[in-house]
Amino acid sequence: MSRPSEGRSPVASIVSSVWSLIAVPLLAVLMALVVGAVVIVLSSVLVLKNPFDPTLPLTAYSALALGAFGSYDSVVSTLVLTTPLLLAGLGVGIGFRAGLFNIGAQGQFLMGAVGSVAVAVWFAHTPAVIAIIAALLGGMIAGAAWGFVPGLLKATSGAHEVVTTIMMNYIALAVLAWIVIGPLRQPGSVSPATPSVGVAALPIVLDRSGHIGIFIAFLAVPIAWFLLFRTTRGFEIRAVGANPDAARYAGVKPRRLIVLTMSIAGMLAGLAGATTILGVTHQMNTTFSTSVGFDSITVALLGRSNPIGVMVAALLFGAMRAGAGPMQINAGIPVELVDFIQALILLFLIANVALRRLLRLRGVSGAEQTGFETITRSYGGETTG
């Protein structure tokens, strides 16, 4: 990535290349926070008829920051919330690298949770190690299956993954509702819920809530990086994403690669669901839901589909999710603000060229755009392969 230019010290060139990578995302986050602040002030004045209070955003954001980093407890809860975002974000990012827009992380996450809770109930009487590994695998397989289907449909019939993955999300919701109310319902429970995952619960290793899944997620970062940048398969994935025709000409089989990539993405999102159910909630009821689906898309885009970038972005969003609750309690700002800020970050990311022209910003290079330009092709009948 770094291109040392003549007449500059290596340190300066590294600094400038790092800056050119993070300047645009950083700017996008800052501008999103500014617009979010405007919304906070305006909505407080117009909707709640409060007196004009320009410090309200500061109150809100400091409550958010304290909730995310204020104590050891809150740092651990940030890490716990980062875990699913990181895993699912890596999956979505790998998809982006192959030119696939996987909106299905939501459904893959839910199916991963369903799969792991089902396996955990099945393995209730085995040693913990076996139960945990089996439940994690169950989640990964269920998630991978939910990614495999849209991949296969895209590869064989050209059905666009944007639409099919969204449909799979809704089907996953129905499956979840059925599983909880029907086959996996805890006998005798008042409200429909599955039995607890029992021995398959992930061990807590940090503070009161830091389960071992945190380490699994951070371990997945170097693995994903190695897969993408140091293996033939990873090269093929990036080649198909950059130019499918050239890749095909070079002997890559795009159809097979699409199915593989979607399955990997689904597997990672499924693992995210598995760690959530095994490490955090321990059982599933009808209200089991998640915002991981949309969050992971933003995480992948913000991290430019680079595993290390995804990790940084996931930490940012984990912190925002961890701080959102305290923000609502202490500053009276609804948690949904975080969703809106997320959309704004994306907006400023893709509009950055136009915005920089508009604001006459200099010193920020817009050349490095991997990740958000050639992601999608039209619904056209063209079948890759």
């Binding site: 919304v39 827009f101 059905a159 809704y170």
Partner: protein, 359 residues
């Protein structure tokens, strides 16, 4: 599961099929009416998609536009009612002043959001799918945020548009009565949708605007050489299409119900996209596809309201309701996978246009 197997045992499949057909025909007046009601928002989303994509702009932000407009319509209605009072509803359709003003507000909101999408996808030449995703995420966030804020406030109750009551003599007319009742026994947005489908179909294939729109979506460079302003036409169409999605959103919070719920669009925008594809980017086709998707839900409602008698009823009562919930999405996937090869998108769909002279 055992019960299901037991129910299946000893029933000839052919008999079940006949029972189902018989049940379908007897429940048709109910099912068709419900199906049109459920199809209206899907169809409006699909029409918005047709207008965008025929001029070469992909818009997956339909869902978000609908959600925002559902919120805006309801909220504006509550605010205006609070200022002007509820007003007296007209006997037909239940129009009131606040309701009509709220509808205008919803349509404006839809056009504004579409303008954002148009700017991002036409001028900024950003990835149009991401632009749409932004609209969707922003809509969920902003409407959810406002809804939570408002939950602490007491707002004036809003009314909703009422359905046209078809006289029993007409509705009961043999052979065609049920069809008239299904299509026109609807509220103003529902009836407007049926009319918009017909007008849009004629305009798209028989007018100068339609020819230009299609040419801009198929081959913008050629269109430009014969003097069509590609950028302007795309802007105009995308912004206009926002009004259609807005009607779809307003239908949910101002006609089907009189309140807003967080996430109340429930993927109808996305199903609308699928309906557009299945309907081969034509308004009439999109309406048909929307009806197809809606009818599976309508049949499931009909089954839960008045279950069919006999063996069929025993069988259906063992099918989990979640299966029927998932059915529209399953049908969408199957139809998409089966049809996409034969359903060809406008050639320039999703590709930003750059003038040759522009740098």
């Amino acid at each position: 599961m055992d019960a299901l197997l037991h129910a299946l045992n000893g029933i000839p499949v052919l008999g079940l099929v006949f029972q189902f057909v018989e049940y379908f025909i007897t429940s048709l007046p109910f099912t068709a009416h419900v199906a049109v009601q459920l199809a209206v928002p899907i169809c409006l989303a699909a029409l918005c998609g047709v207008m965008c994509e025929r001029s070469g702009v992909v818009n997956i932000g339909l869902e978000g536009i609908m959600l925002t407009c559902a919120f805006t319509g309801w909220f504006a209605g509550a605010v205006v009612t609070g200022v002007l009072g509820p007003g007296t509803p007209t006997p037909i359709f239940g129009f009131t002043v606040p309701l009509l003003l709220a509808l205008v507000a919803a349509i404006l909101a839809g056009m504004l959001l579409s303008l954002l999408h148009a700017w991002l996808s036409i001028s900024v030449r950003a990835d149009q799918i991401i632009s749409g995703a932004i609209i969707n995420i922003a809509a969920i966030g902003l409407t959810g945020y406002m809804n939570t804020l408002l939950s602490t406030q007491t707002l004036a109750a809003t009314s909703n548009f009422s359905a046209l009551r078809i006289p029993a003599a007409v509705a009961g007319f043999p052979v065609v009565g049920w069809l008239i009742n299904a299509l026109f026994g609807q509220g103003p947005i529902g009836i407007a949708t049926v009319l918009i489908v017909i007008i849009f179909q004629i305009l798209l294939f028989r007018s100068r605007w339609g020819l230009r729109t299609r040419s801009v979506g198929e081959h913008p460079r050629a269109a430009e050489t014969v003097g069509i302003d590609v950028i302007r036409l795309r802007y105009r169409n995308v912004v206009m299409s926002g009004a259609l999605a807005a009607l779809g959103g307003a239908y949910l919070s101002m006609e089907a119900t009189n309140a807003f719920q967080a996430g109340m669009t429930q993927g109808r925008g996305f199903i609308g996209l699928a309906a557009m594809i299945v309907g081969r980017w034509t308004p009439v086709g999109a309406f048909g596809a929307a009806l197809l998707f809606a009818s599976s839900q309508a049949i499931s409602q009909s089954i839960s309201v008045s279950p069919p008698p006999g063996d069929l009823g025993t069988l259906l009562s063992h099918v989990p309701t979640q299966f029927f919930d998932a059915l529209p999405y399953l049908i969408t996937i199957v139809v998409l996978a089966g049809l996409i090869g034969r359903s060809i998108a406008p050639a320039a769909d999703g590709r930003p246009y750059q003038r040759e002279s522009a740098s």
